[in-house]
Every structure is written in structure tokens, then in C-alpha cells.
Amino acid sequence: MIEVIWGSAKEKPISSRSLAEDLSANLAGDGYLYLGYPIIGSPTGPLKLDALLVSPNFGLVAFDLVEGTDLGEFSARQDDIASMLEVRLKPYAGLKTRRALKFDINVVTYAPAKAHLPDAEPPYFVANRANVGAKVQGFNWAAEAGVFQNLVAAIQVVTSIRAGKQKREPKKADSRGAKLKRVEESIANLDQHQSQAVIETVEGVQRIRGLAGSGKTIVLALKVAYLHSQNPSWRIAVTFNTRSLKEQFRRLINNFTIEQTGTEPDWECIDIMNAWGGPGGRERDGVYHRFCRVNEVPFLDFGAAKRKFGEGKEFAGACSEALSAACHPVALYDLMLIDEAQDLPIEFLRLCYQSLSPPGRLVYAYDELQSLTGSAVPPPEELFGNGADGLPLVRLNQEEGGPRQDIILEKCYRNSRPLLATAHALGFGIYRERGLVQIFDQDTLWTDVGYVVEEGELSGGQPVTLARTPETSPRFLEDHSSPDDLIQFHKFEGSADQTAWLLKAIQADIHEQELRPEDIVVINPNPLTTQREVGPARQQLFAIDINSELAGVSTSADIFSKAGCVTFTGIFRAKGNEAGMVYIMNAQDCASGWDKTATALNRNRLFTAITRSKAWVRILGIGPNMDLLIQEWRTLKQNEYKLRFNYPTDEEKKLLRVINKEMRGKGWTRRKAMRAQRDQLLQAVERGEVDVDQLILELENLKLTSGKK
């Protein structure tokens, strides 16, 4: 089977398609056919290859595609392609004997529209639809099989993603610093799935899903670099809602474009901006603000939107209002990429879609378990709404042929298997005494995100055992430390104890375990208490000469900017951050909420916090809720970090969803009414209409009786 990877082939669409058809239909052999890939930087500007076949049967064959019938100077073009490919591949040791490549580089000019081909002598080849299969079959792979694996790897290296250019020089071989260094060195290159996700280009909507740490942000940044190199005139926007991602995107896109083309990207064509944004120049601009300005509809800032639509619905309301006010939205971009889509309202995604020139190229990436605001991302048919004809505007094709519109990155390169299983078990409430908190809508998602069914089956009412494999959770992420060191739970009597323990642990990490301060992140998952909770710990660390940074809008998530500082962060700013050692303080806040939706939301926060860790995580907390979490984790540990539970029936699943929705409405109004009554009572007290002491007495009594329960 020849697997086709559909890159951006805008300039030669017809010949690309027919080559893909001819080769995948007529060739008896295996391999990958890349369309519109690779791009090779050269002194005279980037050389874009039209197509490249890598096959264990036919070796390496590059194609020079001709759309019409004019072949031009094809032999000169073939010389260029062959020599640039040689330049690209020669740096790899596994591909050459002394200074010569171990295999031939073949180049074929393919002109499907030309009936009569001119004569060509090897090493020059010309083909049309009738004989391209035969021409390719004439080549063969002479080198040994191991070399082929190296070749595939070399071709797929879109870039090296080695993050740490900083120095790490551990002195003890078994310190955490040394272990982290080895882990970081193992994650040097993109894997095949990731590089395919980068290259595959859809003339429409593309969805990328993946777990935290599966490389979504890097894939998006690379996609921008790749598509910008292929289509320099496209106006491209990248958007997200964590401000701290901005610098990271800028650096990644800049580096990748330089690697691809040898030149810097044209920043006039690429906007990296916030989802919302406001007036005040390019630095402060955002997608929604630009939409309002260009379409001349009223812009709402956060405060105004909150007053108008209520808490939690600010952005959704603002976007939906802007969308209905703009009758014919102006096409702002040719391509938009949205990261962290799970944290953005669907109205915003629609607004993006409406701001695109035809054919509406939109790439959105998300991880459904990471929603911090409690809203799930619906399937695309629902997400983008219906057109004038009543049919969904967007449908993801599942059919054969053509680029993949729905991509799942199943391999997780950040979190080890025990860590990820802990995050999932607590996030879903798999071992929770009171039952599941939430569940994936689609059963297949479990296997999509890298679990295998070890026992039982994924069907309603059946017991099932889900486990992660070394395929999807590489062993090197966990082998460096014992499971008891990878993940620990600690319960404390009070806040001061927790801080004291944290201080000691951080001190040991830095002074004994050779971690650098920037390898350590401390997360407080409740956004309302972060400011209050982190103060004492930071002050006490400062007193013993360990500096810290409080992540916020004024700091960058980029590792390069935080040398010498331990990072303290609330959950919202934790996104986009990762570190070797993660401390989660006050985890008890995540055990449950005042209704099921809030519980799910809090559990998601814990999930997000745990998945920030590249190696170790310490979960700290206070009080009985912490006991609940510890109990759930113990059960998971006894089950060898496998998820063993009764899979919910469709009815139960519906209930989980329905309850979430209904409870939100009921609880919300009830709470609101209670608040109003309380205010009235307080006002009555102020006016002297109620006896305060009597009231306090009654409340005290109430406290006693409810305490006894």
C-alpha cells in the first residue's frame, strides 16, 4: 500500500491528484507518497518539491510535476531536485558509506496531460498517466532494510524540536537533574503521526485532537511555517486564549520557517493573536476585536460583555452578537489556526470560520479533557452550524483519498503512563466512590487517545479494563524513576504545614537533586485563591535565596525567559507551561464541586495540573476532600495504573450529560435566589428590623446540628 500524505499542492492540483491516484492504484509495493513536501532551503531560495515517494520496494523517487503540456527544461529541474535532496539527506550518518549515499535519488518528470513524451536517457525520466507506474517499478531499493528506516526518519524530520538549548550539567548520575536531561534528549524529533499532521493540508476544516503533551502546539506552529513557505501570499492567523502562548508561537514559527526556507517569515502575513483582543495597536489586537473593527460592528470589552451576558458567557455572547450584526463578514484570512479550542466558545469558532476566504481553511486543535471552563467541544457538524440550505456547513470526510480532516495524536510525549492514568482516573472519577464524573461521548475516543482494551469491552454495562501501551506512552518517560517517586500524594493538617513541606521539597530538588529552579512549577488549581495562597510560600523561598515568578499576563510561558525562577501559577496560566517537577497545592479544591458540572470542572483542573509534568508530580492538599482523592489514587495504584470500571450504558451516559446541564440551570437560579434573600436579610439587620444576636444564636444551633450529621 502506498500511503499518500497530502501536503499543500495548490500550484499543481491536477497533476498531484492524478499522481496520487496512479501510484496508489497501480503500484504493487509499500511506501509513503508526500505531496507538496519537503521544502529545502537553498542559497537561491527555498526549493519546493512537488512530490516524493519513499518506498522499501522502489527506493527514493522525487517527482517534478507538470500541469500542462509544456515540459520546459525538465532535465535541469531534475538535476536541481536530485542535488538538493542529496544536500538534505547527507547530514544523516545512517544513510551513507563514507561520503556517498547508500541509495540512488531518482527523479521523474510527470506530465499527466501530455500524450507524447520526448525521449529521455537515464538518469532523466519522463512519464505520463500511461507509464508512470512502469517507470517507478523500474527503480528498486538496493540498500539494506535498516537504511530504509533511517531514510524515512530523515525525510520525516520536519524539524528538530529539542527544546532545551540551555545547559544542564548534572554531577550525580542518578539525580533528578540527570534523569530529566536523559528524558529531554529522548524527545528530539517529531514522530510520524506528528509530521503527517503538519503536512496534511485540507482545503477546508481540519480538526486535530490529542492529549496534553501530544504536541498539538508544535504541530500548529509547524503547520504555519510549512503553509507560509508553500503559500507566501496567504494571510494566516494563529489564535488561542492564553496570552503566554504568544511568544512561544512566535519563536517556534520563526525558527521553523528559517529551517524550512532559510529565510525569516514575512510577519506582515502572519498574525499571532489573542482570541479577544482590544484597541491599542497590533500588540493588543485580537481576532474578535479585528472582526468588529473591519465589519464595523460594536466591540465589547470584558466588563461590558459581562454586564450584558452574565458571568461565564462573556465571550460567547460577544461573539454571537458580533456575528449576527455582521451580515456579510469580510474575509480577513486565508487560513486560521486555533489552539486550545476547548477553552473557547463555539460562537468564537464560528466567527473565525466566517472570517475566512473560500474555501474556509480552518485548523482547530483541542483536548476535550482540558476544558477549564466547563464546556465541551461539540462535533464539527454542530459546531459550525448549518448553512442557508439547512445542511451542516462543515463535515469531516472519512472517505478514502484526500488529506485527512480529522487527526488524532495518540502518543503522549510529556506524561508517563502512571501519571497520565492518574490524571484520567481522577479526571473521570473512575474510582470515585460516588461514581463517574464525566465520560467521553464517543466510545472510540478511548482507543483514539491511546488506550487499549485489555479485558472486557467498551459497551454499556460491561466491565472494561483500559491500559496504556508502550506504543502510546513511551517507556523512557517512566523508566527513569520508581512509580512511587513519579507520583506522590501528601495530606497536611493545614496551610502552614503544606507550605513548610513544599519549601523543604523545593530546596532538596535544587540543592540535592540538581534540578534548576525553572524545572519546578507550583500550581494552585483554584483561580480564586491563587493570589492569597502562593504569597507565603514565595516569600519564604525568597528568604532562603530561591527566587520565584508568579505566572500571569506580564510573564511569558517561554522557558527561555524564566531562568533562575521557580514558577508559581494559577490553573489558567498553567496552560502551555510544562516542567520536570510539578507541585500541586490545595488539590482538595478539585475533589468535588457544588454540583456535577462544577465537580467535572474541578476535576478537569486537576487533570490539567497533573499533565503539566514531564517527570514527577506531587499532589498536596488539606482536609477530608484530600482523603477522597488519595483513596481514588490508591485504588488506581492497586489496579496497576489501569482503568478498570463498568462502562456506562447509553442511558447512563445521557444522564451524566443531562444531569450536568439541568443541574447547572437549577443550582444557578437557586443560588442566585438565596443570595438575594441573604442580601435582604442583611439589609433588614442593618435597618434594625432583625435581632442580630438572636439570629447568630439560631445560626450557631444550626451549625451544631448539621455538624452532627
Binding site: R243, G535, Q539, F542, G570
Partner: protein, 220 residues
């Protein structure tokens, strides 16, 4: 005012800013004894740009990206403390500066952003005018009334030198900024901020002529 009391006050102020979580990043001021026995506190590489005649956005970005400050406040405002003492330990000069971020919303514009980590809290149409505040003490450059020994400069205006009664200690300066520009945090952590700092003697250097023009009387 002695090198020791100044250093203690700076460290104490940083402590309080940490407790209140309004310092997001901070650096211990360096103490350096230069040739001849003079002592400099708070030298940081890259701070010279603050005086150059370039756009404020550029000044701010340079200071921010090179960590050329002692405290970065939660909304990006930067505090800088620089003192130098003569070999006999008397104060030779100081430069105290507050550089607000030209881009990020101030705490007053977007309180929920900073207090509740509100995700979209930074989206605000309200725009206050931002301006740097500097307190300089340079007795060697004094020209009566025209260039008072201790003076305050607002908004990088070249000739803005509002006379100040005398040199200012780190707490006095820091609390001037916090009380006026970070009022919400001040109120919320009033106990923390109102505790008496390490004592620094208050001295006056203002001339009789300078007293006749509108001037500022500094506190403790």
C-alpha cells in the same frame, strides 16, 4: 540613611510585595563596593536605557526583556531602586523609578484579571494614561530651584523636576507607588503594608528658594 538600612528596607518591601502576590518577579539588589570605598546598591545591567531619549514602549520592552528591574508588579509595572553612598557612608545619590507597562491593562482597569486570574480580564476598552514616575537625588548636580537636589520626574519629561524635600527611602518610594497606583492591593493587604519598616532617618535637602515653589514633602 545608611547602606545597611537601605538594603534592609528594599528586602522588606519585596517581602511585602510577595506576600500580597503583586510582585511577579523580583531580584535581590546587588551591593557593590567600588574603588575608594564608595558603595552602590541596586546596580542592574541594562538599566541605563531608562534615561535614553527613545520611545517609552522601547524603553519598557528593553527593561522588561533584560530583567533590568528589581520588582515586576503583577500588571507589568517595573520598580527600580538604585542608591550610592560615599566612602564615609553618606548618601551620594539615588534613582528610584516606576515604569508602568504600556501594553497591559493596569490593575485599576482590569481588577478581575489580576485578582481572580480571569481569563479574558485583560480585554478592556478603558485606557488610562500611563506614565513613568521617578525620584532622583543628585546633590552634585544641584542648581538652586532649576535642578533641586531631590526631585520627582513624571512621564520622562526632560525638565520635569518637582522639588522634593529630601532623599527618599525605598519603603517611602515603594509605598507611594503601591498606595497610589495599586490601591486595591494596598487595601486588601493593608496590615501587611502598614507595618512599620526598618527606620531610616528623614533628612531635608530642599533650599529656601525651592520651598517657595510648589514642592513635595516626603514622608518616612
Amino acid at each position: 540613611m545608611s547602606p545597611d538600612s537601605v538594603r534592609k528596607q528594599i528586602m522588606d518591601l519585596i517581602d511585602r510585595l510577595l506576600i500580597a502576590s503583586i510582585s511577579v518577579k523580583q531580584f535581590t539588589p546587588a551591593i557593590r563596593t567600588v574603588e575608594g570605598g564608595a558603595i552602590q546598591i541596586g546596580g542592574r545591567p541594562g538599566t541605563a536605557i531608562a534615561m535614553r531619549d527613545i520611545a517609552y514602549e522601547d524603553i519598557y520592552r528593553e527593561l522588561d526583556s533584560h530583567d533590568a528591574y528589581h520588582v515586576k508588579l503583577v500588571d507589568g509595572g517595573l520598580l527600580l531602586f538604585q542608591y550610592s553612598f560615599r566612602p564615609d557612608r553618606s548618601l551620594a545619590q539615588h534613582r528610584l523609578a516606576y515604569f508602568p507597562s504600556p501594553v497591559l491593562p493596569t490593575v485599576e482597569e482590569a481588577p478581575t484579571l489580576y485578582e481572580k486570574d480571569e481569563l479574558y480580564g485583560d480585554i478592556t476598552a478603558r485606557r488610562l494614561v500611563r506614565f513613568p514616575v521617578r525620584f532622583d537625588y543628585a546633590p552634585d548636580e544641584t542648581v538652586d530651584v532649576l535642578h533641586p537636589a531631590s526631585h520627582m520626574t513624571l512621564g520622562q519629561y526632560e525638565s520635569c523636576r518637582i522639588p522634593v524635600a529630601g532623599p527618599i527611602g525605598p519603603s517611602s518610594f515603594g509605598m507611594f507607588i503601591i498606595r497610589n497606583f495599586y490601591f486595591r492591593a494596598y487595601k486588601k493587604y493593608k496590615n501587611n503594608f502598614d507595618r512599620r519598616p526598618v527606620q531610616i532617618d528623614r533628612t531635608e535637602t530642599i533650599s529656601a528658594n525651592e520651598r517657595r515653589v510648589t514642592h513635595i514633602v516626603h514622608g518616612l
